[in-house]
Symmetry: C2
Subunit: 878 residues, 2 copies
């Protein structure tokens, strides 16, 4: 088994595919070497040695020493220099390099090989004693800190003292003599602090550095980084030992970073920056301002031309935009690293589309390149990155996009402020369907309670507005119109800015940038749509949402909730009249008043989505959600409908529920009050007949919510299907139109475990299943989405749950039910259509799972539609 992989002079033991063994950096250095590019010779110690070392009491495999010696000898031969030589000494860098990039998390040691003798040779050979001693003191600093764990400021203090003593400000103002003394000071401090002399033997230096880099795999920040990014702890890091080249040897030397295309815009221009007479560290330190790459063309035309050649060949070779580190030593170009460049979403899209057009990539490859979640950012305003921000609290990033507005604490106020033309932000403990009107006129919502699928969050995503939920730091005193964060008090009318993508709440007005959709966006989405197996629909309750969804590529509506229609100001009193009716006549009268409203709703939404199916869910929430809760509202209603305040109060209290989520709602309501669903089904049938008579291809589907037992669905379908057919027929006849449908399909939500467990029985009465994964997650876990934020926070911290199950579908539990239900349902009825309309329908990881289990379509909020389309395409490609 090879443990050490050499590269140099056009030949390499490894290649770019060996990232697992060599880490990203090592694999790419080998690849570039084989391509004939100018890479300083070096070798990579494989990642497996790391785990071996860490698990076996820091002992190395027996063969390692010999392999390293052999590889080192090859470097010496290649570079014409010798490790520890008094004449032409070889210096090396020792760097980490894991399978995936963990920038800055692990350790690096440069200029290794220097000692009291070698430094003199370096001074001589470079004819630059200042450079030589500066390199030596840097090496001692790094070695003491990284290898020996000496607190960095101990040696830095000595440097500062020297500068004060010499009356200079910058390191660069110290001369060779100063630095020579500094080296002596450093060695003195080193031996005092660490109880041993600074090692003069380059071999000892080398092995100590290798061990330190391996050890740094397990340092705190690296562990934390892996935890956050889900990187396995047993991958280990490679160690890259490379001949040093110096960009700081004078005016013919330089160091820089370049990108084969602009990583911000994606434009196909050579982009980068460099510093003459500098080392990489200096670029990072930011003391001197680097120059843009184009200037190099004048300053070092030969090097530039060579670098441009490297750019073209690396991009063509890797078929992706590269981020390249280079050093020019005395007019000679060296490449130190190449990797796939990080880029903005906008750039990623442009690059992917351009590369397809350039013939560099296939469409499938282009689709696989873009992270779905990134797409949504393009649809929402973002904060101006240069603007000052005063972050006062952080909540859950519940709906992306940035917005500013003035604080308002209730929905009624919100409407009044908005009517005056004010931009407002609605701040509440939590929102409820009664707040819909106020939410419509707000720029964004901020809630103290609730999680990623709370009412506020779901509505915000649907409307494409910003939302920060579960911001526990807020103490809201709505009656007194202010909230507190710690000691800070924020009053009604104060300006606030929300970043719904990060969860940050900022005081004052921070400038935002509007979203703009590029032509590449449309091209890219069209490709993705063609590749996906699952269709993507939107959850949309209004014609406006439906139009937005179509614009973003939705092929139908998977969930049209009818309850939001009931909260409209003009209708709510009638809805309440219906609920409070004392007898069937009164109720029928109220429902008759609601029917024309509902019909008009359906006409508009079916028209907006013509040519695609629209799944209309019959009334779902418990009736008490529509009743007034405050004394003021109860009194108003009493005046409006002529029922005594006491009577209303009594009915409100009778309808109160301990756990409304598990209460008298959904099909339970439809069965106990069949007249409500009957009205809705009539409205759907009449709307459809009307549109069909006008030549509009309306495709409604009726969805019964919360079914847990086949009998529930059968009972309702038996009644509603006949009614629907007859109503459609008579409405068509009244319009002198020929019927154009054989019947409106009926289906059900699968959103309680029992429905999934008995899916075979339920399928008998359903044309389609739509998994309501929010409620299914609530009932499968026994988690209330409105109440789980406090403990889910603890669960995340304690690693009890990897993902928020309301954001990423829980495959082991909820997913098992979904898979079971889809299989059992189809076994009973092979034509059964299966969709997902919960929030997970817009989550890439979840979509991948839904694709695996054979779901036909996912439905998500309009602004997630592009994300879902891309996820569906990627899932199909896997």
């Amino acid at each position: 088994m090879t443990l050490v992989y050499y590269f140099g002079q056009g030949k390499a033991d490894g290649n770019a595919k060996m990232k697992a063994e060599l880490g990203g950096k090592g694999a790419n250095l080998a690849e570039m070497t084989s391509l004939g590019l100018p890479v300083p010779a070096g070798f990579t110690i494989a990642t497996e040695v790391c785990m071996d070392f860490l698990e076996n009491g820091e002992k190395y495999p027996a063969s390692l020493e010999a392999e390293v010696a052999e590889a080192l000898a090859k470097i010496e031969a290649a570079m014409g220099a010798r490790f520890g030589s008094k004449e032409s000494p070889l210096l090396v860098s020792v760097r980490s390099g894991a399978r995936v990039s963990m920038p800055g998390m692990m350790d690096t040691i440069l200029n290794l090989g220097l000692n009291d003798v070698v430094v003199e040779a370096l001074a001589r050979n470079s004819d630059n004693p200042r450079f030589a001693f500066d390199s030596y003191r840097r090496f001692i600093q790094m070695f003491a800190n990284v290898v020996k764990g000496l607190d960095a400021h101990v040696l830095e203090d000595a440097l500062e003292n020297l500068k004060q003593h010499r009356g200079v400000i910058d390191d660069t103002d110290l001369n060779a003599q100063d630095l020579k003394h500094l080296v002596e000071d450093f060695k003195g401090i080193y031996s005092r602090e660490l109880g041993e002399e600074f090692p003069q033997d380059p071999q000892k230096q080398l092995w100590a550095a290798i061990g330190a880099v391996f050890r740094s795999w397990n340092c705190n920040r690296a562990n934390k980084y892996r935890e956050i990014h889900g990187i396995p702890n047993n991958w280990g890091t490679a160690v890259n030992v490379c001949a040093m080249v110096f960009g700081n040897m004078g005016e013919t030397s330089a160091t820089g970073v370049c990108f084969t295309r602009d990583p911000s815009t994606g434009e196909n221009v050579f982009y980068g920056e460099y510093l003459v007479n500098a080392q990489g560290e200096d670029v990072v330190a930011g003391i001197r301002t680097p120059k843009t790459l184009s200037l190099l063309q004048n300053e070092m035309p030969g090097v530039y031309e060579q670098l441009n050649g490297v750019r073209l060949s690396l991009e063509r070779h890797y078929r992706d935009v590269q981020d390249i580190e280079f050093t020019v030593q005395d007019g000679r170009l060296w490449l130190l690293q190449t990797r796939n460049a990080k880029r903005t979403t906008q750039a990623a899209l442009k690059i992917a589309v351009d590369m397809v057009h350039e013939g560099l990539l296939s469409r499938k490859e282009a689709i696989a390149r873009v992270k779905p979640n990134e797409l949504e950012k393009l649809l929402h305003p973002t904060l101006d990155p240069r603007a000052h921000r005063q972050v006062i609290a952080k909540g859950l990033p519940a709906s992306p996009g940035a917005c500013s507005g003035r604080v308002v604490f209730d929905s009624k106020e919100a409407e009044q402020w908005a009517a005056r033309g004010e931009a407002i932000i609605l701040v509440r403990d939590e929102t409820s369907p009664e707040d819909i009107a106020g939410m419509h006129v707000s720029k964004g919502f901020l809630t103290a309670r609730g999680g990623m699928t709370s009412h506020a969050a779901v509505v915000a995503r649907q409307m494409g507005k910003s939302c920060i939920a579960g911001c526990g730091a807020l103490q809201i005193f709505a009656k007194d119109r202010f909230f507190k964060v710690g000691k800070l008090e924020v009053f009604e009318g104060d300006w606030l800015t929300l970043d719904g993508s990060s969860g940050e709440v900022m005081l004052g007005k921070v400038n935002t940038r509007e979203a703009e959709l590029s032509s590449e966006f449309s091209t890219f989405l069209a490709w993705a749509k063609a590749l996906g197996v699952m269709n993507v629909r939107a959850n949309a309750d209004t014609p406006r949402d439906a139009r937005a969804a179509r614009e973003f590529g939705a092929e139908g509506i998977g969930l049209c909730r009818t309850e939001h229609m009931f909260f409209d100001e003009a209708r709510l009193p009638v809805v309440r009249e219906m609920i409070l009716a004392q007898n069937n006549q009164e109720r029928a009268r109220a429902l008759a008043k609601l029917l024309p409203f509902q019909r008009q709703d359906f006409v508009e939404i079916l028209k907006a989505m013509q040519g695609f199916p629209v799944t209309i869910r019959l009334l779902d929430p418990p009736l008490h959600e529509f009743l007034p809760q405050t004394e003021r509202d109860i009194h108003n209603l009493s005046t409006q409908i002529g029922m005594s305040v006491d009577e209303i109060r009594l009915r409100v209290s009778q309808l109160h529920e301990a756990n409304p989520m598990l209460g008298h709602r959904g099909c339970r309501l439809g069965i106990s009050h069949p007249e409500i669903y009957e009205m809705q089904v009539c409205a759907i049938a009449e709307a459809t007949a009307q549109l069909h008579s006008e030549g509009v291809d309306a495709q409604p589907e009726v969805m019964i919510p919360l079914v847990g037992h086949a009998q529930e669905l059968k009972w309702l379908r038996d009644r509603l299907e006949i009614l629907s057919a007859e109503t459609y027929k008579s409405a068509s006849a009244a319009l002198n139109a020929k019927p154009k449908t054989e019947g409106i399909p009926f289906g059900t939500m699968i959103e309680v475990p029992r429905a999934a467990l008995t899916a075979n029985q339920i399928a008998e009465h359903a044309d389609f299943f739509s998994f309501g994964t929010n409620d299914l997650t609530q009932t499968t876990f026994g988690f209330s989405r409105d109440d789980s934020a406090p403990f889910l926070k603890v669960y995340a911290r304690e690693n009890i749950l990897k993902d928020d199950p309301f954001a990423v579908v829980d495959q082991e539990g909820v997913g098992q039910l979904i898979q079971w239900a889809a299989e059992k349902g189809r076994a009973r009825k092979p034509t059964l259509k299966v969709g997902v309309c919960g929030e997970h329908g817009g989550d890439p990881k979840s979509i991948e799972f839904f694709n695996q289990v054979g779901v036909n379509y996912v439905s998500c909020s309009p602004y997630r539609v592009p994300v879902a389309i891309l996820s569906s395409a990627q899932a199909a490609l896997q």
Copy 2:
């Protein structure tokens, strides 16, 4: 295929086992005939003919006519009489008889065969013209009503007119001449009303009567009866045609009913009553008071002796108590029916035990004879059946037993009234754990909301008190201290009586009878316990409950809830202090105060249940349940613990939950506030060490509630198990005692679907599973037990759900999860102990299912323990 089964003169085509074909009555008539007992000859038309007749447009199978004719000829031969004969005519009865008794639901026609000529022969032969014409007019009445559907009062009016005209009150005061005229009147009315003459042809009469009896299978009341009793509609009824015998032919004739033992007490005495010179109808009509059977011994000693012989042989033959109908015609005994006697629970137990002692039955057979649900009645007071009752409303029979008391509307008042020695009944919209103290001192609870497993219902069953829940007719105005039912107003202090077994709410004080346990009860339970495979434990939270449970035969505690201990008046302020603590020190201080209380709780309960396991569930409810809700209580608490009212209000509102059932409770609380469970586990370990040091065999088990993910259980067990072991060790050491346990077992509730779905993973960290079937039913269906009563009522009415899933476990959904979890759990850990501690642990149907899926024990409220023991035994026998 035989359609007609003859019986007579000691020979019969059928037998007692053929109830499916012949119905109960026909099968037993055949059996008695074969036994050589005096049964009038007759035949039975099989039940299948009924379905055939009803489904094929009331046509009979081709062969039926010939078979009937043949059987009729045999009757004639046996009885020495001929159908329609002018000399010695045969009369027959035509009766229904289904596979199971449906008393009074279907039709019967007596005296068939009479016509204008035959009646004269009957008058002559009997030398009793009055008897003959009375029989004829009865026959016309029955025939017109049953066969022709003539409204009964039409002919009765004619009879009444005649009586008025003749100036007599009783039918018996009419003489032969009167009745002869009445017959003429009847025939006239008959032809006028029905447009046809009364049929004179006995054959026509017979076939019309057979058809009418078959048709009566489908009459409304029979359909309704079958629906209620779950009798399949396709069983059909048999028709029994039997030679008439007459108990009304003079002083040597009689008719009566007898039981082989006393059906009220079970005593082995010959029990019954009879009327001389009467027909069965007369006994039912209740005009004459029947004599007790013992008098027959003097009046007709030969007949009595013969009847007593029949009693002994039938009981021995059927090995069960018989209910026998007999007629004495002119000194000759005839048996008309025998069947297993209905009996009281008390009698059932005594009979079963006595019959085992008499060698009539095996223990297993005795065990199978008693209905488990009946047993509970023996443990509770019952209403005096003779007392007057004014029922004002009916709710769910949530906890059995009758009680009277004065109405009180809140828990605090309840305590005050009870302290004054008043018997009280707590009336509330619903109860919560905060009401526990008031519930303890009440005789029973009446709630307007909630179902069979609401808080009130569960606590009532546990405490063995009466409870009527979900009594929707009640409008409670607690603040004004009265409730309304319709227009009736009931005020605080008014007397109310509850029958928790029927759900009836009665105004005033109705006398009750105390429960008494017989020695047979203990014997019977001991036999059952020996036969059951599953153990039976009790759900008990107090030493008092634990003792009651032991008395009723419990072998351990399957669920000891610790939260009720927190509501004790002395502790609640400390609990609140702990919840509202601002920092860890404060919380630790409060918990340290609670620990000695908890330890003492556990000492007492473990001692009461010594020698048996006690499963202690760590704190389950959300913390806000312990906080004050009313302004008064908030102010009191503020004074008690010195926290500002505003601060308390804020914390109460912060802890408020939209759906507490799915909220921050159970193990979620244990993970976010580990110090609470730590305190509880220390208290358990210390209590155990103390008892062990005293030589008491304490067997605690720690149960973690609401686990849905293996990581939750692992996280908690990792912490608590070590703590438990160390605490036990150090407490033992402090007492100078040798440790007597290797470790307290840890297990979990399986009460959310995800736990069942991932049971294999969870089993890895659990010594036992206990199915919390209440919560599992709530989450699997998505039904809140507190809010589902209104729609479950509709579901029952509409036949959507056969059983209340909170009363009888839903095998298709919840049961599937239980079976899956038990299998997966044991596959991972074969030693896993599996129990059930939800309310279903006391339900016979559910217990049968639990036995099937291999549950090791069920746990139920103490008063259901006998029911569960018997159910477990019966399940094992199947």
